[in-house]
């Protein structure tokens, strides 16, 4: 009967097919309420580091996730994504997840990293170090906590505890009523950025006299940052502080050199190098370029290279060397000046000697790149050792740097350089950086804000990035002939390969387990059955009751 009726409708469509379409389709489109809003939560998440250096793979290779969320205490993590707070995550746990073949982990960081206690900070530093020490196939994401994430996290935590119910029936009921969450990170899979270009920015301040016959001193600071997640690496102390020091010294000396009375007999080369966190790849290539370019090189007759790294806090300036400087060498003179100027400012300056460890893929300090090529070089840093510091951590935020300390340290460095340029000895303590030549604390502070406002990871600062441009612009403003040189990894034997996908958007959907659908289906069958019985009885009654009702006309 029903089929027969349906046949009539089909017949109608057949007879007037195009016209009926004109009638029905627009109506369907107009009347149907659009956009059934999806209640999914969206968050920005930052993927863990992922790069190749000298053919060794570092970091996490995975990116895409589309599985259910679990708390880190859950027993079964196979094909599940763990949602955990930073304090719960340990390297062992992650190793355990890898053996269980988990689909990924999302680590929730506190909103204000710098307000964490000392213990938590150490925990994060350790975790960063341990995770970076091996290659991980599983995607690892970091996100900062919000109210919504907190709620989801708590729900996931509760759902796990219901797994440990006393009876099986209770467990089934609990699992059917529990709220699950599906974590979905979609998008293009991670690709190697083969044509990625890094940018070195350099400029020269020429001394008074015949340029080629004057001694040269070089100031170097790398401008990139690093951390467990490139997207979160602000790198305030390392090395925004060094970059600011370099820019500020460039500003002060461009003023000094603009007047013939104060034009010193010293060439100063400024270099802002890239990829410093990748074993100083930018510096390495810059040295190679300069040495290969023959006669007219910036590195010709360079008496000493001063690398600046992390001078934004603490009460000391350390001079790191690979070889103790000989007496009467420029490095030695700089050290003497540094000691006396620091003493005038009430802080300590010491020389720290560390041999270059060529077995390690990552060089400890930037000056080692120069020392390898037998160019006298030192690194000036507030840190005493390259190990265990915040230099490679996402903890290195703006709050990690004290603007007044940074300004003071810049003044000391500028003073040392000034006294060196005018040939003053430590005994002759004439102050050079004073009056109109003061370090501008406001400028330092605003530069710090600009540089730490967003991530400066080398993978993100491509050659067209606005920060790269503004650094170049500023250096050019002070020193006139700033140049950018671009670096690409070698096609056949790349020293470094970066991968894209630093920031993803995660969608978290609330879902119900499959058992729930089954329960629902049973309930619906019951409802419809009851309805059928009710209708059948009701109408049967009416039909018998009301004779004319069934009389066909």
């Amino acid at each position: 009967m029903f089929v027969h009726d349906a046949g009539a409708v089909i017949e109608m469509f057949k007879n007037s097919f195009p016209y009926s379409l004109i009638y029905f389709i627009p109506l369907l489109v107009i009347i149907a309420p659009t956009n059934p809003v999806s209640a999914a939560q969206e968050f920005a998440v930052y993927r863990m580091q992922h790069f190749d250096l000298q053919n060794t793979v570092y970091g996490s290779r995975g990116a895409l996730v589309n599985v259910e969320a679990r708390s880190i205490d859950a027993r079964m993590l196979t094909r599940r994504c763990v949602l955990a707070k930073l304090a719960e995550v340990t390297a062992e746990k992650i190793r355990d997840m890898l053996t269980q073949n988990a689909a990924g982990i999302m680590i929730i960081l506190p909103a204000k990293l710098w307000e964490m206690g000392k213990e938590d900070q150490d925990h994060l530093l350790n975790l960063e170090k341990e995770l970076m020490s091996e290659e991980i196939s599983m995607p690892i994401y970091f996100t900062t906590t919000t109210e919504e994430i907190e709620k989801i996290y708590n729900d996931v935590k509760v759902a796990v505890n219901s797994d440990q119910s006393p009876s099986a029936a209770e467990a089934i009921i609990k699992s059917a009523s529990a709220n699950g969450y599906q974590i979905v990170i979609n998008g293009a899979n991670v690709r190697a950025m083969n044509d990625y270009q890094l940018t070195n920015i350099h400029a020269k301040l020429t001394g008074n006299g015949v340029e080629e016959q004057l001694p040269t001193i070089a100031l170097v600071a790398h401008y990139d940052s690093t951390g467990i997640a490139p997207g979160l690496a602000k790198g305030a102390d390392s090395n925004a502080s060094g970059v600011i020091a370099l820019l500020e010294i460039a500003r002060l000396f461009s003023k000094l050199y603009s007047s013939s009375r104060t034009h010193a007999k010293l060439n100063i080369v400024f270099l802002l190098s890239s990829a410093g966190k990748f074993s100083y790849q930018g510096t390495k290539r810059w040295i190679e370029e300069q040495l290969e370019s023959g006669e007219n090189t910036l590195l010709q007759d360079v008496s000493v290279v001063l690398c600046i790294d992390s001078i934004g806090k603490g009460n000391a300036i350390n001079m790191h060397v690979s070889k103790p400087p000989k007496e009467f060498s420029s490095a030695h003179a700089i050290l003497n000046l540094l000691e006396s100027v620091s003493a005038e400012n009430g802080i300590q300056a010491t020389m720290i000697h560390k041999k270059i460890n060529l077995a390690n893929e990552f060089l400890a300090w930037e000056h080692e790149r120069f020392s390898i090529r037998r160019i006298p070089a030192v690194t000036l840093s507030a840190y005493e050792t390259h190990k265990g510091s915040l230099r490679q951590s996402i903890l290195d935020t703006r709050e990690n740097v004290d603007v007044s300390v940074l300004s003071r340290n810049i003044r000391i460095l500028a003073e040392v350089l000034g006294r060196y340029a005018y040939g003053l000895t430590p005994k002759n303590n004439t102050e050079i950086i004073r009056d109109s030549l003061k370090v501008d604390e406001e400028l330092v502070s605003s530069w710090l804000s600009v540089l730490t406002n967003e991530s400066r990871a080398a993978q993100i600062l491509h050659h067209k990035h606005h920060l790269v441009h503004s650094l170049y612009y500023t250096l050019n403003k002070y020193l006139k002939d700033a140049k950018k040189t671009y670096i690409k990894a070698d096609k056949r034997d790349p020293e470094f390969i970066f991968y894209d996908g630093h920031e993803y958007v995660v969608n978290i959907y609330s879902i119900k387990p499959a058992v729930f659908d089954l329960f629902l289906a049973v309930a619906i069958a019951g409802y419809l059955g009851a309805l059928y019985l009710f209708l059948a009885v009701k109408f049967q009654h009416r039909i018998q009751d009301n004779a004319p009702y069934i009389t066909k006309h």
Partner: protein, 228 residues
Amino acid sequence: MTFFHFINCVAVSYVPYVLIYRTSGLQEYSVFWKCVQAGAAYLFTQLCKMLVLATFFPVYDSSSSFDFVGELMKCTIDIADLVGLHLVMTKLVAKGQMKFLVAGLGWAGAELLVTRFIPLWVGARGVEFDWKYMQMSFESNINLIHNVIVATLVWLYSRYYLHKALLPLVVGFLFLSVYRPIVIQILIQCFSLGSWSLLLSKALFTLSIGLITLEIYLTQSTESNSYH
């Protein structure tokens, strides 16, 4: 959720229509075609309503406050539904006492098809689970009862033998059913009802009107069986 969930929702929203069609005896009269025609009339009425709404009622900024007058005007346009139903019963469905059932079922069926199927298809199959699709399905059951009641009321209203005392009641109910969206809005505003309690109150509202209407209909239909 899964396709299974979508099937669940579709079962809740569509099966009652089939059940009514099969158990009420409509099947024996082969009025399926009439139901489809009633549905087509529904679509046409909606089109006319939309034209009027788009022409005479400017869209106000969807600000947070509840625009009572605007809503009232919009509901007034819904009187066109009553006219449409009346025309269906007088012009399309020629004979039989069950014309209000045919008209109501066809009307509600068309509404179900055009306003529920696509949201269910898109929403209930999506990854996100939400009770609202289940609620939407149950609401379509309520709408079925509502439409049958409205058809009955319209039919009763056009009876010349309708008892004079009952006329205000019938007209009142017609008004209530036309302004149902407003009543619901006020309920939400005043009692800040949750989605489940709102659904329940809709069901109670519809059922109570339905029972009274059924009572009126039974008393009237015993007096006369013809429709002129």
